[in-house]
Assembly symmetry: C2
Homo-oligomer: 154 residues x 2
DNA sequence: TATATTTGAGACAAGATAGTCTTAAATATG
DNA sequence: CATATTTAAGACTATCTTGTCTCAAATATA
């Protein structure tokens, strides 16, 4: 699996926030409900994103989470880094430790290229990109495809 | 992690075989010893490759495993398919089930491209490619870099 | 202030992956 | 044939990931 489930949930949660008007806090309960993700689990993951500085949160009624920066300034790689870490984008394809290409493995040439493709993709794709695309095509971010992308005006 | 540890060990084991003269069986014990992988664990993995038809085996003294086809006919993707399955190359980046691009997720465009890069890399790289490259550059396939790539004449 | 709501923190359980060990079956060799 | 070697099969344990639950702290609102 390329990304852990936690990371995928984090992405979907952040994407949800990026598709909303960012002025107000949204409760994780509502997000988990709309995205059909276990509330407790999503809470834990959103907490990680908050700790990482990607979200800000407020407790109590009318509380919730929201993006700290504007969605077009948040690349996917930041979410991956916060939850899965950068291992995928720095590690060896053969799992060998501590290579800086000094003593590479036979797969290095091919893997370094492929790894870069992944990295560039994650670096160049922002939450706003995905939210816009999602709204325009009414694309799914839930298993059953029931997700409304409201408000459309973001 | 892109590939499971089992898959990586399977690759390294198969690469070992491709770097040897393919006429005789090599014991898994020797392979695990040279590659510094747990013998029991590697045995289990090599069994999977044998069941998948990539290796053939013989029991008893002078027994062991060897490649069933010539190394230049074995692409990495076959090993991945045998051990991890094709999920990585067919599944959704957001973990959503059963998409055939009919109802895509917002990441689809980017991910489909990246996924293809990975697939092509795995399809176009053969064991012989890696063995040749490894011998020419004396590259490492063990954590500590102690691996000899003998015989050089393959 | 009292209450309900919501995040924060962390214990706990379930499931998947990784790794170990035991026993059986096959087979080369003396 | 007897024995040592090696794969085959699968039980078992350990570790990591995923998911659930409980309680505390903060806070909006009546
Ligand atoms: S060579 Fe590339 S893939 Fe191989 S160990 Fe070094 S970094 Fe990893
Ligand atoms: S769109 Fe592409 S990435 Fe998204 S669900 Fe369909 S296949 Fe998967």
């Amino acid at each position: 699996m390329l990304l852990s489930k936690s990371c995928i949930y984090g992405m979907r949660g952040a994407l949800y926030l990026a598709s909303s008007s960012n002025s107000k806090y949204i409760s994780i309960k509502q997000i988990s409900n709309d995205l059909d993700i276990s509330p407790h689990f999503l809470t834990k993951i959103m907490q990680e994103l908050t700790k990482a500085g990607l979200l800000e949160s407020q407790k109590g009624p009318k509380g919730g989470v929201r993006l700290k920066k504007d969605g077009n300034e948040v690349a996917l790689v930041e979410i991956v880094a916060a939850i899965d870490g950068m291992d995928l984008l720095t590690e060896c394809a053969l799992g060998l430790p501590g290579c800086g290409t000094a003593k590479p493995c036979p797969l290095h040439e091919q893997w370094a290229d492929t790894r870069d493709e992944i990295r560039v993709m994650l670096e160049e794709t922002t939450l706003t990109d995905l939210a816009r695309k999602g709204k325009e095509g009414n694309l799914r971010i839930t298993a059953d495809g029931t997700f409304d992308w409201l408000p459309k005006d973001n």
